[in-house]
Each structure stands twice: as C-alpha cells, then as structure tokens.
C-alpha cells in the first residue's frame, strides 16, 4: 500500500515536471521532404521545380499532377500547384489548391499562415476583398502566439 502511494506520488511529480512552460520556439521551416522523404514523388517535384525555373509552367504542372498520383495527401504538392496557378494568372485555381493544401497541412502555424496569405492574394486578384481580409486575419492569428494560446 505504501509502495503504491509512493508510486502515485512519483508519478504525479513526473507529470508536473512534464508540464512545459509556454515558450516561443521558432519552428523549423516546412520543407517538401517533411512530407515526401523517401517518396518517388520527390524526384517529380524536383523536376517540376526545374521546369518552372526554365519558365515551362505546363511541364511543371504535369510533373506535379504525376507526383500527386503517387503522394495524394501531400499538402506541399498542392501548395506548389497553387503557386504555379498564381504565376499563370489563374487566381481562382490558385485559391482552390491553396485551400486544399490547408486541408492537408501538417500542424505548422508558419506554413499554414503562408498558405492563408496565398489564399488572400488569390482572393484579392479575384476582387474578393472581404474574403482576402478574413484569410489575412487567419494568417495573422496563426503567426501570433498569444492568440494561438487563447
């Protein structure tokens, strides 16, 4: 019985120690490899990036579509498609892909905030000022640790 009490006490102390004080640790920036490490989709993503650098957006898009067939739940791939659409002037397409990327996004506030900003830009370009504003607010909330805690 005594032993049990002791064990319980130790446990309680350990739990107490495990409670972390709230500190702002800057998160590592999100990268493709966090989602796609070891996936064959990664080499298609690399090819897509090269095609974009060469200004060949439709080739890049084809690579990304193929990559998505292999890694269908990759938020990062959808983000690349959203970026691509925005540079091609297809703001509506960009918004759709950015929202999809958000749906699949890992728990990474900075990355998600970036996506909301992408949504905001895409909405602005479609003349949706109110939608853009609310997207920017979401981005701001994600970046503000105080509001995250609330």
């Amino acid at each position: 019985m005594q032993r049990l009490v002791r064990l319980v006490l130790i446990s309680v102390v350990m739990v107490g120690c495990a409670v972390k004080p709230v500190v702002d640790e800057p998160q590592e920036p999100m990268t493709a490899s966090q989602e796609l490490e070891g996936s064959p989709a990664l080499s298609l993503l690399t090819s897509a990036e090269q095609a974009r650098q060469q200004g060949d957006n439709s080739r890049a898009e084809r690579y990304l579509e193929r990559a998505l067939n292999i890694a269908p739940d990759s938020s990062w791939l959808y983000k690349q498609l959203a970026d691509l659409r925005l540079t091609e002037g297809d703001a509506r397409g960009a918004e759709g892909f950015a929202l999809k990327a958000l749906r699949l996004a890992p728990d990474h506030p900075e990355y998600q905030a970036g996506l909301w900003e992408l949504v905001a830009t895409a909405r602005d370009r479609q003349g949706n000022a109110a939608g853009a504003k609310s997207a920017r607010e979401r981005a701001a909330t994600l970046r503000d640790p105080e509001s995250r805690k609330a």
Binding site: K20, V22, R103
Partner: protein, 779 residues
C-alpha cells in the same frame, strides 16, 4: 491531201444536193494543216494538262496532306517502388501492350521474367513533360506491390501509354506515319524485290518491268505480276480513284514521271510505305505499313520480325484476297513466296528463310486489339474534344490525345458488370443492362467508363446518356443540407420514421412509403441514411427546406434544373451515371469540387505539346459538414443497406457510399468511394420497365467486385479541427459517455454539441471539457 479530199465527194452519194460545197468542208477536216493545228492544240492542251498534273502532284505531295486521325492513348503506366500492383496485373498490361517475351529483353517492346523480377525494355514516348526514353528497367514484384525498381539511376519509370482508339469521321482513312529511317530495311528490300526490282533505276515507268510482268503472266497463264512500278502504284493510291478507267491509266504514267522528276527515290518510297492501302476494318480504311503492323500484329512496325514483314508485303498483291485473318492459307503461301524472293535476292539468309517460313502467321485476333476496345470512353473523349477542336483538325492532323483511362480499372469495371449481369440475367430474359463510371476523385480523372454489358459494342452510351431517377442516391444531399445547420441538426438528431403526407399545389397528396412498407419510429439521422428510410428522409428534408436541399445538389455539381417538389428528396430527379459521379465527387474529396476530365494533354503529330487540360479544384463544402456526411455514408457500408459489400473488400478498408432504387424496381444504383476511387454503377432496362432489382442486389455487387480488384486507400478517420468525437445519449440531445446505456459516438461540429449531459459517466466531454483541460496543461 488533195487525193484524199477528192475521194470524198464520190462516196457521198446520199449527200443532199442543196448543201453547198460539201467537198470543201470535207477537205478542211482532213487537211494536213488541220492536223497540224489540232496537233498544236493537243500539244498546248497536253502541256497545260501536264502543268496541271504537275501542280497536282507537287501540291499533294508537298503538303503531305495525309489524313491523320487524332489518336487516343490511355494514361501511361507509372512504375515506382511501393506502387500497389500485382504481378498478374503487370503481366496483363505487358500482354495488352504486346510486349514480346525475350530472354534478354534486347529490343524495345520486349521483356523477360527472371524469378521474382521482370526485365522490361520500354518503348519510350512523348509527353507534355518531355516523356520517356526507351530504357531497360528491372522490377521486382511481391505481395501485390512493386518492391524495387532499377531504371537508369531513377526510381521511377513509365511504360508508354496504350493506344485505345482514334477519332475519325465515318469512312475515314487511318494510318500511323512511319518515317523512312524507322522502317525496317528488310521491309524495303522485300518490297523492292517483289514489287519493283528496278525501282532505283527507272524514272517512274519501267518498260523492262512491264515486259517482264507480261512474260511472267503469259508463262503462268494468268495475272501474277502487275507491271506497275512502285511510283505508279503510289500515284494510284495517292491521287487516283481505284476504278480502272482509261483516263486514269492515261494519267498514271505522266504523273509517275512527274513524281520522279521532282522527288527523290527515298521520298517516294516513304510516301508509298505510308500510303499503300492494306485492307479494311469496318468503315476504317487501313493505310500504310505503320497502321498495318498495328492492325495485324498489334505492334509498332519497328518491332516486327521478318515473317511478319513479309505478310505485310504479301498483302500488296490483294489486301482482301490475301487477308491473313480470313484467308490464312493463301496469305501464308504468298508470305512464303515473299520470303523466298527475299532470300533469292540476298536480303534474307537461307537459315533465316528456313526459320521464318516455318513460323505461323501470328496475326492477332481482330477483337484482341486495344484499339476500339473501349468505345464508351472514346465517345467521352470525342465529346470533350469536339468542344475545343473542329472536326477536320481531329480527322487530319494526327493529334496525340493523352487520356485519363486506366486500363486495369476499365477491365475490372467491364468484367464486374458483365459477370454480374450474366449471372442475374443469363439469357438476357430481363434484358438487363448497365453502366459504370470510375473516377479518381481528387484529380477528377475518369479512369473507366462502361456503357454496355457487352463493352466492345458501341452504340447507346448509357453512362453518358441514360437519364434515370437517382432514387436514394439523393439522400446524402439531404443529410449534408441538415448538418450544414449545426445549431439545429447533428447526425445524432432523432428523426421520426413514420407516415408523412404532403399536400401538393395541384391538390394531390404526396405520401412516400418505406421500401419495406413499415415505419420504424424515431431514429438518429445517421441511421436514416444507413438504412435508407424514405419517410424519415422526407420529413428531415422538408424540415431542412426543399430549397436548401436543391441548393446543396447544385453545389455538389448537379447542373440540371431542380424542381422544388418534395419527391426530389427521394431522388425523382433524373441523372445520368456520369452526372451522379459529378455529384458524388465532392462528397468523396471532403468538399472539393473538381471538374471530371477524360483528357490530360494534347500533342501534335510530332509529339510537341499543344494543350493541357489541367486539374482545377474549388472548395464547395466546408471540411466539417463534408466529414460528417462522408462518415454517415461509411455507416451505409458498415451497418446499412450496403453491408454486403464488406465481404468483397479488405476488412480494414473504410469506404462510403449509397444504394439507390427507383420506383417499381426500374433502376438499381450504387455510388460509393474509397479515398482514391469513386465508382457509380447503374443497372436497369433500356425500355425502362420493371427490372426486378434493387440497389443492393443489382448494382452493389458490381461495385464491390470492381472496387475489390483495384488498389484502394481508406477514407481518413481523422476529423478536421472543427469536428470532435462525442458520445451522445440515444435521445440525440444530451452528451453521454462511453459505456452509458445506448450511448453512441458521433463526429460532431462544435455548434451541435449540447450543453446538457445525461449525467452518466464522470465528465462532460466537450472541447472545453476534460480533454481540453489536459490539452491546455501539456501544450
């Protein structure tokens, strides 16, 4: 001149006397000067004629105005480590693409089985991303997966897309252009040896060839050799109709001369090889060696072996007389003659002659060609293309259309529909037919389309054109409309399943019945859907609002006018199977609407990218309501009207769907999905009579069978941030806890979670409850 003229009056005794100067007229007719003049006129006319012919020859030849119908390809087969692909399916694909077994896989289009691994020599192809080079890859397959892949340092490889058809108007020509440097030299040698031995020496016409042919014909006592040179034959094929008129014969020779004057032997040979008529496939004329190779052997010309090349050359003598499918003996004899001539001319060694003349014809059966094997899908591609390209571009310009068809999904769908209908309706007593649409929901790619239990038959495209009442397939739209009002409804909300009557504006009364003619009383909304209760759905839908439900259907992708009758709640709206797939696509993706596409890329005849049909997606339903609806649809399969599908699927696979049956058992539907396949199945009769089937008995087995044959990923069980799992009291109004009475666990939107608890269990478990408290502690 004078003498001749003098004779005529004497002979013209019956010449009426009142005609003056008859002899003078006669004299003019036969005068030398007249002949000279006539000769001059003829010369001028002849020169003009030659100039005309010259223009004709050059214009047609220079413009290369060959009709090249647009070709449609399936999606390329993507190979990578980890891809779910059985060894059996891999071999099936190689067989469909006519890969040859060859111990070293030494040439493109061949493969070898080496224990657990396959050595494949791919063919290479163009694509909008640059395509693939031909390469040798080593692939090891086990446990239904690609375990490893070696492909030139890369971990990815693609097999070329299978050609599945071409788009051309009725009675069109068809061909596969092959440049001369890709034509096997042996084919050229055989051609020249048998058809025109002095080809490289003559100027279009060969008198020696003509006399030799005549001699041979006399010796044989019949027509064994034509005296026409290859050039003349090309003229015949290229410019002249095939009827044997004198004027045609007269034009042939000068045109042949002109052709030789302007063009090199190689150019003429290349044109000949691509133009020559080789037979008929229904309304489609087979022109050129490239298409001939595909038509007879299902392979590219470059891959044919000597005896197969000889069969093509044998056909030149008479494509229907020597048709190797209908006249195999004749074709074989002629083929061996070609081989013999090739040997005698030194183009083929004696050993090869012995070897190849002993080989059978090896012609593929007509139906075995993937070409035209998928008429329903090709129809869809054609409709999509017709919006963007005028007909003449499609029939003439040789476009390469890369489609979304997945050959394995298509074959699985065809097989599942056929198998089930043959089982249920073996002698076609009930005249049951059906349609299947399979879609990759995230990208909207149409992977398979079946519109007939005999899928090779073209004709009425049930998948695209059969408009039928969707029945209970409408119910998920009612549930979605309800959970989008989370303050009022959750999946736990009780709905009364009992008689309901609605007075319609026209005075009649709408009183829907349940399928089993009973009423089950109050039940949670999720069960209303899972058990497909009509009266409860009608009550719920009317409560939510007909206009809301109609709006939801439109949001999901129904484009038809939706009349606001209560009967739409139970699926009186008529949709085609394809439209049902459109409506279910956002349900399958958690609320993202993507236009269904059958084409990804269009390339020109040289493989240069022309146009893309990119994926595009819109968020049309928020994550929370979409997740709830999808979860409710999973219960249809877990414990509802589609339970029977479980047996055909892996036990850990989570799928969702809905059965549908229309009045009088006319239509049986099932529409359902995993994370990577959405499939819609319709079964019914063309005459719209009672088919005696329900969604569960008529359509679900087809769905389960085909889904079971494809690699599936489970639907995600992770709710979005706006949704929590909550144990609810069976009254649907109070929170409860695990193990309490009949408490059940539901995904709930925050606004739906009641403040009240039934007091069972210790802690009220909402987001702000114990879980939230602990979370706050550790965050």
């Amino acid at each position: 001149m004078a003498k001749k003229a003098k004779k005529s009056p004497a002979k013209s005794r019956r010449q009426p006397s009142r005609k003056k100067k008859p002899s003078a007229q006669r004299r003019r007719w036969f005068s030398w000067s007249f002949i000279a003049k006539a000769g001059l006129v003829c010369l001028v006319l002849g020169a003009a004629g030659m100039a005309y012919l010259d223009a004709l020859v050059r214009e047609r030849f220079d413009s290369h105005a060959w009709q090249l119908p647009a070709r449609v390809y399936a999606r390329p087969v993507e190979l990578y480590e980890g891809r779910v692909l059985s060894r059996e399916d891999m071999l099936k694909l190689l067989d469909l693409m006519r890969y040859r077994r060859d111990a070293r896989a030494s040439t493109p289009g061949s493969f070898a089985v080496q224990g657990n691994s396959l050595l494949i020599h791919t063919r290479g192809f163009n694509d909008s991303d640059g395509g693939e080079q031909s390469e040798r890859i080593r692939l090891s397959l086990s446990g239904g997966q690609i375990r490893s892949l070696e492909a030139g340092g890369d971990r990815l490889a693609r097999l070329e897309p299978l050609q599945i058809g071409s788009i051309h108007p009725q009675h069109a020509e068809d061909r596969v252009l092959v440049p001369l440097d890709k034509v096997p030299p042996l084919l050229v040698d055989m051609l020249i040896a048998t058809e025109d031995r002095s080809f490289y020496d003559h100027h279009g016409i060969s008198l020696r060839g003509l006399s030799r042919a005549m001699l041979a014909n006399i010796k044989a006592g019949g027509l064994v050799q034509g005296g026409s040179t290859l050039t003349q034959q090309l003229v015949k094929n290229f410019w002249l109709s095939s009827d044997r008129t004198l004027s045609r014969k007269l034009m042939e020779m000068p045109m042949a001369l002109l052709l030789e004057l302007h063009y090199s032997k190689d150019q003429i040979l290349e044109a000949y090889l691509n133009e020559v008529y080789l037979g008929q496939d229904g309304a489609r004329a087979i022109h050129g060696m490239g298409l001939g190779a595909q038509f007879l052997f299902g392979r590219p010309l470059e891959e044919l072996e000597p005896h197969q090349l000889a069969t093509l050359v044998a056909l030149l003598k008479g494509p229907s007389w020597y048709d190797p499918r209908r006249r195999p003996e004749r074709a074989m004899e002629r083929r061996n003659t070609v081989l013999k001539v090739a040997r005698d001319e030194g183009a083929l060694s004696s050993a090869d002659y012995d070897k190849f003349s002993a080989r059978p014809l090896e012609v593929v059966p007509r139906g075995a060609s993937a070409l035209y094997a998928f008429p329903a899908f090709i129809d869809l591609v054609r409709r999509q293309l017709a919006r963007d390209y005028p007909p003449e571009v499609l029939s003439d310009e040789g476009l390469h259309i890369h489609s979304t068809l997945d050959v394995l999904a298509q074959l699985a769908s065809e097989g599942a529909l056929k198998e089930h209908l043959n089982h249920r309706d073996p002698k076609q007593v009930k005249k049951l037919n059906g349609a299947v649409v399979v879609v990759a929901p995230a990208q909207g790619d149409v992977l398979a389309l079946v519109s007939n239990r005999d899928s090779r038959q073209a004709g009425f495209n049930r998948a695209l054109d059969a408009q039928r009442p969707m029945g209970s397939l409408a119910k998920p739209a009612v549930v979605l409309s309800a959970v989008q009002q989370p303050k009022t409804y959750s999946l736990a909300t009780l709905v009364e399943d009992g008689p309901i009557q609605v007075k319609l504006p026209n005075g009649s009364v709408w009183a829907p019945q349940n399928f089993d003619k009973t009423a089950k009383g109050a039940m949670p909304m999720v069960d209303v859907l899972a058990l497909s209760r009509n009266q409860a759905t009608a009550r719920l839908g009317l409560d939510v609002g007909l206009d809301k439900v109609a709006d939801t259907m439109k949001t999901l992708g129904v484009t038809r006018n939706i009349p606001l009758y209560p009967s739409i709640l139970l699926g009186s709206l008529e949709l085609t199977p394809f439209e049902v797939a459109m409506m279910y696509q956002p349900l399958a993706t958690g609320g993202f609407s993507t236009r269904l596409r059958s084409i990804t890329d269009v390339l020109d005849k040289d493989g240069k990218p022309l146009a893309r049909y990119p994926v595009s997606t819109d968020e049309v339903v928020e994550a929370g309501p979409a997740f709830l609806t999808q979860w409710a649809m999973q219960q249809v399969v877990e414990e509802g009207t589609a339970r029977a599908a479980r047996a055909a699927l892996p036990s850990d696979l989570r799928v969702a769907g809905k059965t549908g049956t229309s009045d009088d058992f006319r239509d049986a539907w099932f529409a359902g999905f995993s994370a990577n396949h959405l499939a819609v199945v319709w079964v019914g009769r063309d005459d719209n009579k009672n088919a005696g089937i329900t969604g569960s008995s008529g359509a679900l087995p087809v769905w389960a069978n085909l889904m079971g044959k494809l690699p599936q990923r489970s639907l995600s069980q992770n709710p979005p941030p706006s949704v929590e799992w909550v144990w609810m009291n069976e009254d649907g109004r109070r929170v409860s806890a695990e193990g309490c009475g009949n408490a059940r666990r539901y995904p709930m939107l925050a606004a739906s979670i009641p403040e009240d608890s039934d007091g069972c269990g210790t802690v009220k478990q909402t987001g702000k409850g114990i879980k939230g408290w602990f979370k706050g502690l550790f965050d």
